[in-house]
Symmetry: C2
Subunit: 187 residues, 2 copies
C-alpha cells in the first residue's frame, strides 16, 4: 500500500506532536536569543534519484536509516547540548526499547567530552513532560544489559528528573532546567 | 532520466571526497577520544512512503531540501563546534555563492552564543585545505551584501585562515587548529 507521509496527530488534544512543540520551543529560543538548537534531519538512505529536465531532482527510492546520534543538538552559553525526545502511552514506566544502543553510546560520548546530554520524556496519558539527565538513562541501560529491568519506573523519573511545565511560549522550557542545574559553571 | 545515486568521485586522485575525508577524521576523533563530531543527514522532504507487507518502508517520492544549518557539529572540551565544508576548482578565490543566507545566519547565531564556528575550504586543483573562522566568512558576506565582491580572495584565506596539512590519520586535523586558537579558554 502506498500512502502519503503524514504527521502523527494522535498524541494530544491540541493536535501537536512532541516534535512540533520542541521545534516551536527551539524557534522561540533562537528568536529570543536564548540558545541555538535544531532538530537533525531524518536520516535517509537514498537509492534512486530522477533528474527531470527543468525541474527539481526527485528521490524515487530511499529507506529510513537508524540514527547514529540523538535528534537534537545545539549551543547554550558556549556549551554543547544534546538530547533525544520520546513519548510513551504507559503510565508507570518508560520502556528502554525506545532507544537503541548507538544513541546511548553517543550520549555517553557527549558526557565524556563535557557536553550536556539528556532526554525529554512525555507521558501522553497525563501530558507530563520530564527532563531526565543522560547519566540516569545510561545507568538504567547498563542495569538492563546486566539482566535488570527493561524500563525506568516513573517514580525514578520523578526522582532523578525534572518536570517541565508546559507553557505557551516557550512550550517546553528545557533550557530553564539546564540553567538551574548548571548555573554554577555557566556564566 | 533515472539513475542510481552515486558518490562524486571527481575530486581527487585518491577517489575520496572532502566529505569522506571529514567522516574518517571525525571517526578518528571519536575512536581516539578527542572530540565528538557528526555530519548531519541530508535534509529531505518526504512526500510519499510505501509500506510493503513484511519488509521495510520505502520512500517513493521525496525532494532535497535546503539545509537550514551547517553540515557538521559536535563537542570539543565541552564547547560547541559547528562548521560547513566546501570545495572549489578555482585557484585564486572562493565564491560566496557556495553558501546560502540561512547558513550564514546560523553561523552568526552560533558565534553569538559562544560556540566555535568555521568553514573548511578545499582548493581541489592544489589539494590545499584551509580552516577559516566564520567571523571572516561573515565579514566578506556582509561586504558582498553592501555591494562588494562576491568571493573571498585566496590570499585573504591564507592570511585569516589556517592551512590544514593533509595527514593519514586523522586526514584533516581541524581540531588541532581549534586547540591552538582557543587553548587559553579550553582547559
Ligand atoms: Mg529519534
Ligand atoms: Mg552542505
Amino acid at each position: 500500500a502506498t500512502k502519503p507521509a503524514q504527521k502523527k496527530l494522535d498524541y494530544s488534544n491540541r493536535g501537536m506532536t512532541l516534535e512540533e512543540d520542541l521545534n516551536e520551543t527551539n524557534q522561540y529560543y533562537i528568536e529570543n536569543n536564548i540558545a541555538i538548537v535544531h532538530k537533525k534531519p531524518t536520516p535517509v538512505q537514498i537509492v534512486n534519484v530522477s533528474y527531470p529536465k527543468r525541474s527539481a531532482a526527485v528521490i524515487k527510492e530511499a529507506y529510513f536509516k537508524q540514527a547514529s546520534t540523538t535528534d537534537y543538538n545545539g549551543v547554550y552559553k558556549g556549551r554543547y547540548i544534546d538530547f533525544e525526545a520520546k513519548e510513551t502511552k504507559l503510565q508507570t514506566s518508560f520502556p528502554l526499547k525506545n532507544f537503541h544502543e548507538h544513541q546511548i553510546i553517543h550520549m555517553q560520548n557527549v558526557l565524556d567530552h563535557g557536553g550536556i546530554a539528556f532526554i525529554i520524556i512525555r507521558f501522553s496519558q497525563t501530558e507530563e513532560i520530564y527532563y531526565l539527565p543522560a547519566e540516569t538513562l545510561i545507568s538504567y541501560w547498563n542495569e538492563m544489559l546486566a539482566g535488570g529491568r527493561k524500563s525506568i519506573p516513573k517514580k525514578d523519573i520523578e526522582r532523578f528528573g525534572d518536570l517541565i511545565p508546559i507553557g505557551y511560549a516557550p512550550r517546553i522550557d528545557y533550557i530553564k532546567i539546564i540553567m538551574r542545574k548548571f548555573e554554577w559553571d555557566l556564566s
